[in-house]
Point group: C2
Chain length 260, copies 2
């Protein structure tokens, strides 16, 4: 079972080409991360962007230029251990590939940022609905009207995920996700989507729309895709990210990053 | 009363030379911060050091090179609004002065890091003893044997503060300080000081020794002085920090930074 695979075994399968699917549900209980690689010349400003926007861009690990073995997964290699990568040149998506060893160089800095899979497990354990999982879909993601705090040349609108639930469930979800402050933490908005500049919940910018039942409210969390928008908001010669859903799986457990 | 001064008024008095004392107890309820200024060439590595060591070096604000007005205190000027600064050249303390406008330049990056004054207020409000305040002393600070996670060329041993209290009070102190994760958060150690490499509690490396009463245990928190040791561990041409106790007072309230 994929859920029982150790992170080490999962990464080995990915590296050997035996695992090419999304990582959702794999190595359950271990922290999965967003990846952004960029030239060291912009790394200070991008690190600053993440520090200033900790809800969408919670920093799990940042590596020195030319290093690809993260402290949160000894023995791993960020150039080979994700199932799929996106390669951007001059801010434009060029290709999606399964290995970026031939593209990376000694002047690249790698960022690993928290992902909401961690608190989804905790919410499921508490009996809260994760509609997109119930419906076998990707989570709904929207670009809001809210500006992130800029840093140097980097800017982005805040991207959010949305999960519908009853008001009582929303209160419980606030409690549970607050503990996971390094994987997006508490919601950034509850209720009227128009207040944060979302026109139509049926048309998410990324992922799939899900069913909202009578009596349910929309609950919005900051989303790691924000970091990809920021990283590709400049025409940098080379930026590499994970492909959405094809995350880096670390050796940290979900509970290692909780505040309480 | 100094405690009732607004942060804006306090900073104005400091700027005008009307306030030259330590900031402990001033503008009560507002976040005070450690300051480190250094050349932009090392700023990425130092930011990385702070990110990797969030307990001793919790980041409140980092400014772009040549900027001195922090987001957490609009209108303030980091070159004039602290009562006293330390100036290091090539890793050596050169002077302590009350204004650094003539030394700073467009290539300097300023870091503001959390300070334990915030949780001290909360502990006092909960009836817990802060022995150094009771005895009118500076808090006891010790250099431990524990290594921080290095970043680029920056390294440091972990520096801690110590406050003695009963075991029951220590439990309550863990609860209270956990909420203040951006101002050092929960303790890093409780009990035997030798376990973390402190030889003699009566001889702190910084600050003053305090009385430990029968039945009390030593409770240790990560300390912002760690950032000063790291910043001056290299022979950088110019590093400027606040003088211990002469902090930057921001417009953020203590409660703005709590996790719960």
């Amino acid at each position: 079972m994929a859920a029982e695979l150790s992170p080490q075994d999962l990464r080995k399968r990915i590296r050997n080409g035996q695992w090419t699917q999304p990582t959702s549900g794999a190595s359950k209980g271990f922290i999965q991360a967003n990846l952004v690689m960029m030239p060291q010349e912009q790394a200070f400003d991008f690190l600053l962007f993440c520090v200033r926007n900790p809800k969408p861009c919670p920093i799990l690990d940042v590596l020195e230029p030319g290093r690809f073995e993260p402290a949160i997964a000894p023995g791993a290699d960020l150039r080979t251990d994700l199932p799929r990568y996106r390669v951007y040149e001059n801010g434009q998506l060029k290709t999606e590939i399964e290995n970026v060893s031939h593209l990376t160089h000694s002047g690249m800095v790698s960022f690993l940022l928290g992902c909401s899979f961690s608190f989804e497990n905790a919410m499921l354990a508490a009996g809260l609905p994760i509609r997109n999982i119930e419906e076998g879909k990707n989570v709904s993601m929207y670009v809001t009207r809210r500006d992130c705090r800029p840093a140097g040349p980097f800017t982005s609108k805040l991207v959010v995920t949305m999960r519908p639930m009853t008001p009582a469930q929303a209160v419980r979800a606030v409690q549970i996700t607050t503990r996971f402050h390094l994987t997006h933490g508490a919601p950034v908005h509850i209720g009227d989507h128009r207040e944060i500049g979302i026109r139509d919940l049926d048309r998410p910018e990324f992922g799939d729309p899900v069913t909202i039942r009578p009596g349910e409210v929309s609950v919005f969390w900051a989303c790691g895709v924000t970091s990809q928008l920021a990283a590709t908001s400049l025409p940098l010669p080379l930026v590499i990210t994970h492909s959405p859903g094809y995350m880096f799986v670390s050796d940290l457990k979900d509970e290692d990053l909780t505040i309480l």
